[in-house]
Subunit: 360 residues, 2 copies
Amino acid sequence: MSAAAHGAESRADTEGAERQQAADVAHIFNSAVAAWSIAAAWEVGVLDELREKGRLDAPEFAERHDLNRPSTEAMIAALAAVGVVQYERNGNDGNGGTADSDGRRTVRPGLAFDETYRTKALFHWLCRGSAELFTAMPDVMRNGNRTGRFYRRDAEAISRACADIDAEFFKPAFWAAMDALDFDFSLVVDLGCGGGSRLTQILRRHPETRGLGIDIAPAALDLARSDAAEAGVGDRLSFMHGDVRALTPRLEFADVELLTCFMMGHDFWPRENCVASLRQLRAAFPRARRFLLGDTARTSGSGRGAMPVFSLGYEVGHALMGAYIPSLDEWRSVFPEAGWELRRTHFLDTPAGSFVFELA
Amino acid sequence: MSAAAHGAESRADTEGAERQQAADVAHIFNSAVAAWSIAAAWEVGVLDELREKGRLDAPEFAERHDLNRPSTEAMIAALAAVGVVQYERNGNDGNGGTADSDGRRTVRPGLAFDETYRTKALFHWLCRGSAELFTAMPDVMRNGNRTGRFYRRDAEAISRACADIDAEFFKPAFWAAMDALDFDFSLVVDLGCGGGSRLTQILRRHPETRGLGIDIAPAALDLARSDAAEAGVGDRLSFMHGDVRALTPRLEFADVELLTCFMMGHDFWPRENCVASLRQLRAAFPRARRFLLGDTARTSGSGRGAMPVFSLGYEVGHALMGAYIPSLDEWRSVFPEAGWELRRTHFLDTPAGSFVFELA
């Protein structure tokens, strides 16, 4: 190859690399817009309708749900930009329907739809529940600002997201652990109950059982109370405002045989606090025979190659909040000291690092 | 191929497709976290230090800037997850420095760094200035909520982002248009002046000229006044709170020879309002000889294949706000009616659809 030809090829390589870099950074930007749009599309019903019907006409959907049409179309354009949906081609779509002249009205699930639907609540957690925290990142990082209530999140949105994360990801491992219980229980307490959906499910399967939910977020408890009443278990289910990291013995705790605690175990940490809190739980619930503890541990993947969905947001978010996320090994090391025996661990594929511990 | 082998291959294909889909959706999620982190990294100085020094030690940077160390490391992990930075390998880095045992302290610019640096203000516009709007998407979309001030953005952050967008992208086309002016001017008005940096630049190049900035955001004007004083042009530069869409003749407008207006021209729309506003500007500034109007037009790309950086966020954001973004052709069609002559159009590569019109 001549030097000139070699130079031309190098220039072509450089231009190709620059184009690729521009496309990669545009994709980061567009993904941020799309992530907000995924959370919104779930909340307004677009994702469920697409899953159920396989297609969606944006203007018609907007009209039927009393939504602003340009906003609805723009949200769907954002989903299309990352392959969550795809526009139908012009003309007849093979089902007797026709798209309009520019083919922009009707969408179908795209190549990324199924996985997006499966993980929608993780996007909701990030972009709806935790967005204010991430937006305030440069303020929250400054040591001078990290006093008092130095960040805000949307407790109701977090609660909604966590209910779906629970149902989508933790449920199978939770019920496997529940089905393995070798005793009957008449009273169950859910620590950090959020919107109360886990308790409602337990009480439906166990018609003689009563439940008590404890949470630190009054907004979540309000939602939990109305949902429980709606689900027809309101008479067997009560809720209490409280900090589960510092529970002391009470009359209504005396006969509790089963404790559950999902997606908040990391709030017990750092280590010495966790040991203390778990010991306090032993004392507060003297007859508890089993404690099902499900949460997401720190992964070692941060910043090294491709990361699975959720872990990065979970770990960045908790670093900003000043919350320590223990690894699986750190979790396991704490139980002997805290007076609990780890009987079994169920692992989840998603979110990465998630587990359900059966403690006795 | 046997049917069994074919079946095995199909399963492998399906599993491969599922893995790819999971990786794609994880990348959307991680990009959202990274987009917030890009905006934050710019604001706290990480991007500038990486560009200037070529490497950055996260704990050392955190300490020097009084930032929380886990938050700083987490933000940098998010940048690494999308290739904006890359961790140095363990051991000697070739420059006499060494990384610590897990190689997680020190980062260098990654493959996506240069383009991210170039477009950092677009991320800041999205993730810091407009985040509250995008987070509220499901609320803002509902027709019942679209009355009064139905959305919020961070005016100061928008102003900061727009100053950098202006400097990074509009500046070359702006100065090309300025240098082509065939008359001297002693008084220039910047419509929608934001933080006032354009006026400061003009006055520095034209030491005999006075300037007046008009903006609707009081917070931006406060910033503009202090910046102008700092830049030593405070005595030739004044600022006025006002809505440039509805300006009426004033004594201080009478001798203005040059009008500039950047990144807010779309606020003149819809069409009939734009014609009226541009006519009012003719009347309010009777001696204006040239009007340099720079903005970003609607692209036709939304939802069709790969989109360049910014357009999607810009178009979704304005749809949510109920603001119409005209196309280039729509812009061009309005000038004859509004009493302005389009002399020349300068096009920008980034943001896509951006232009500077020379109007006379």
